[in-house]
Symmetry: C2
DNA sequence: TTGTAGGCGTTATCAT
DNA sequence: ATGATAACGCCTACAA
């Protein structure tokens, strides 16, 4: 089997307590001489500590759980990267869990993470609309923070970007280009981010004193094909529109496909916008005007928060809200005036 | 603290051995009556087993390590998904490690994974060109499999797709469209996949008895900007070419950008191909003709292999080689004949 | 069918 | 400065 602290102790003619001390860099209580000797023996033997055993006694694994819907969705890799990099900085590692937004899967994962005694959990998945999933056992709470999920009732802190603000910004921009008939392809309504963005859309529309036309509002599930289908529905409804605002980039890509398939030119005939600024959106044709979320930073901040929680600090600010940023590219044009036709 | 096996035992008026037996579903040696009682108490108390403690005695954590260069690279999410789904099927979880292809980072991660006593490792990162990284300590080998990295000298099994075959297919296809002046943008030469694909290119070219023109061959690092730069270099070299074969989709996207920026039309003036068939490649304009790797399956197969290894099975076939598939879309056209100009 | 007890590799609390 | 030794929570012979 593996080399243990015992082997090192025997070889170095010291007790395991001493070995443990030097391994853990306890500054006090071990002479330079023995420290050097122990280190040498440990290195010679190729010893490395067993974190499982250590975890059992310290009750700390230095592992974090990261729960997300689907890493295959281009929105998430950056989050993961932010989480991983930051966790690493603090000496933690990440167990990754894909839930496909199934609360069944999510519950199972949370159970497993707890069984594994992870030190904390970051969750950017469903979890119903409250913290219940995390209370498998009422006795032991585990530190956790919500990421990109603004829940109504939660005691856990959360990190997200201001969807109302972001969407308001981009719709405002569209309106300034002269558009008044602005379709909207929403994300799933029960999703808080979708709700926020929709609010932002309505806010901008209302402030510009434009009437909302419900026939121009469809709901999708944040996927490319949803964007495509909703766009088709809108086109076929026969309602007039000069711009389409999508609740995320993926659906905007789907909408663009649909528009192109009908020979509708972007942005000459119709303007299109996305949301998120995933990598793809600067590669589409035309390049997507969208709202950039600081995705990577969100991951970093979530870990910062979680680490504080783990350290027993009480978080004063339960909500860390980031500001998104309008990214103007090529998919929005000025509306055609009648006299220009 | 948490509820332990002891609490359950006390409450159920049995020994911890009995509780352990029912928790682990040992079929023998516990009456239905006590089993039911124990289960009830466990559930009432919200007991769940502590995998850290269990791992210490069983020497099994049911955790796998997954090492990859960068989850942000669109090639990897599907691999991760395949790995995670399959691992899950077998009751394992995944610790994710991003190395940025730094062998320093990689070594650190391998050390940590071993300290955490993961049951096995899947590696799709550099690790020099041999297994040395995994021999931090010569005494304890850890089961591992290489994924998408065909190493020269390794005793570990590996899963990859046949790059020679795949690239040969697509270059063949281009040649059949009448092209003879075919530029090539390679991946980093020390990378085995890049090497394989380059071989495939040469093979197809040679079989068609076309002379290779070294001025039309550039090397990038699999990133969009590399494709862009290499393409620019080729354009500026003044050499004639009617097609550009790229070693992956990302570089093809960069190449397309470069071409467009010079007003060169695809595929009318120049044909372009990619490799991998990541999601983006069906979204570019024009849609990319490319070679599809069964990315998700690669992840699944790697885990299948690893599980066998962990189970102590001896793997007869050290190499699992998958066949990629040509995906014809819109970025390749017939070469212009002189009389068509 | 059930219980006792040793041990997994560490850390941490006492002594010495 | 160092060494015994008792936990940590669980599994697993071995006994009863």
């Amino acid at each position: 089997m593996s080399i243990t602290i015992k082997d090192v102790a025997r070889r170095a003619n010291v007790s395991i307590a001493t070995v443990s001390r030097v391994i853990n860099n306890k500054s006090d209580g071990v002479s330079d001489e023995t420290r050097k000797e122990v280190l040498k023996v440990a290195s010679d033997l190729g010893y490395y500590p067993n974190r499982v055993a250590r975890g059992l006694v310290t009750n700390k694994t230095n592992i974090l759980g990261l729960i997300l819907p689907d890493i295959t969705n281009p929105f998430f890799p950056s989050i993961v990267r932010g989480v991983e990099d930051t966790a690493n900085k603090y000496g933690y590692n990440i167990i990754l869990c894909n839930t496909d937004n199934s609360s069944e899967k999510e519950k199972t994962y949370i159970k497993i993470l707890k069984e594994n005694k992870v030190d904390g959990i970051i969750c950017t998945s469903v979890a119903g609309s409250n913290d219940d999933s995390f209370k498998l056992s009422p006795n032991d709470k585990i530190p956790f923070v919500w990421l990109d999920r603004n829940l109504r009732e939660t005691k856990a802190p959360m990190v997200y970007t201001d969807g109302v603000y972001g969407m308001c910004q981009i719709v405002d921009y569209i309106i300034k280009q002269g558009h008044k008939k602005i379709a909207y392809i929403s994300g799933p309504k029960l999703n808080f981010s979708a709700e926020q963005r929709f609010k932002g859309y309505l806010k901008a529309i209302n402030e510009a004193e434009i009437d909302v036309n419900n026939d121009l509002i469809k709901e999708g599930n944040y996927q490319i094909q949803d964007g495509n289908k909703c766009m088709m529905d809108i086109i076929e409804s026969g309602e007039e529109f000069t711009a389409v605002v999508c609740a995320n980039d993926l659906m905007a890509i789907g909408a663009i496909e649909a528009l192109k398939s009908r020979g509708i030119r972007i942005p000459y005939d119709v303007s299109v916008t996305g949301y998120d600024d995933i990598t793809i959106s600067s590669i589409t044709y035309p390049k997507l005007t969208t709202v950039a979320q600081p995705i990577y930073e969100m991951g970093c901040l979530a870990v910062d928060l979680l680490i504080k929680l783990i350290g027993g600090e009480t978080i004063e600010k339960k909500e860390v809200v980031l500001k998104p940023e309008l990214v103007i590219r090529e998919s929005v044009g000025r509306v055609k005036r009648n006299w220009e036709i």
